[in-house]
Symmetry: C2
Subunit: 137 residues, 2 copies
Amino acid sequence: MLLAAYQLTARELVAALRRAGHDTIRPKHGALFGNIDLGGSRATDIAQRAGVSKAAIGEMIDELETTGYVTRSADPKDRRAKLIVPTARAREVLQLVSNFNAALERRLRKDLGATRYAGLRTALFALAPDTEPQPRR
Amino acid sequence: MLLAAYQLTARELVAALRRAGHDTIRPKHGALFGNIDLGGSRATDIAQRAGVSKAAIGEMIDELETTGYVTRSADPKDRRAKLIVPTARAREVLQLVSNFNAALERRLRKDLGATRYAGLRTALFALAPDTEPQPRR
DNA sequence: CTATATAGTAATGATACTATACTAAGTTGA
DNA sequence: TCAACTTAGTATAGTATCATTACTATATAG
């Protein structure tokens, strides 16, 4: 049920993005969108936050650069590194995701009540610590 | 967090099975073990219950037949079909899975309290209806 | 300044599927 | 009853999403 719940909500979100014209974004890209700073992040940091390999994030960066969601720019502090910076188009996606999550939260709160909704969050945190979503600057 | 919670618990379960000597069973095999009747089921039925394609289940049957977890026998009611029957070894796995789930439930109940545990189940049901695990005969 | 560590990339492979097409067997309706 | 259709399982190929390893360029520590 955990897996099914994830897949269903992820597909709903992807469908909502598609309706808004973002039709090249797939569920896995959430690993990047959910862990990139608005001012840009290094690939290694995104990979670590997302809990996936650098190679996996690197491939997403390739795709999202091609489709115009991120740019690669030199990191002034480390010539090995590149700053992955979200474009305006990506910021639009982040806003839509935020709206989607807020709507989902409202729906669950309404359907379950505040207490059981809190139970869901606490339970997920008990099952998957170190995964708590952090707001990105 | 839904995805992470699933992956972590699935890996824990696979590790527990491995410790019990069932070291060829992988997460995907849950689609079969979770949807097969003790008296045998047809591949198509298992696939439909699990929500995956016939081909995917067919491949798992190949693997689990090779490793001694299921047998293929003729379905007396339909000569096109074959009954996929769990062996004693598979029944041992099903028992271990049942024990694992019971232990997980006890842990969550203890950590969260009965009310919030109920919240988790209700929330998952709200997010993923038609996925409620059914006991198999 | 040498040894070691780190950032990103490339190549390969593993895992877990789907889609399509096929054969054999069952069902249905004129 | 038999032609049209459907269904069960299998075979083949392909796709999506990752990890592992090894590599190059750069950085850092002693």
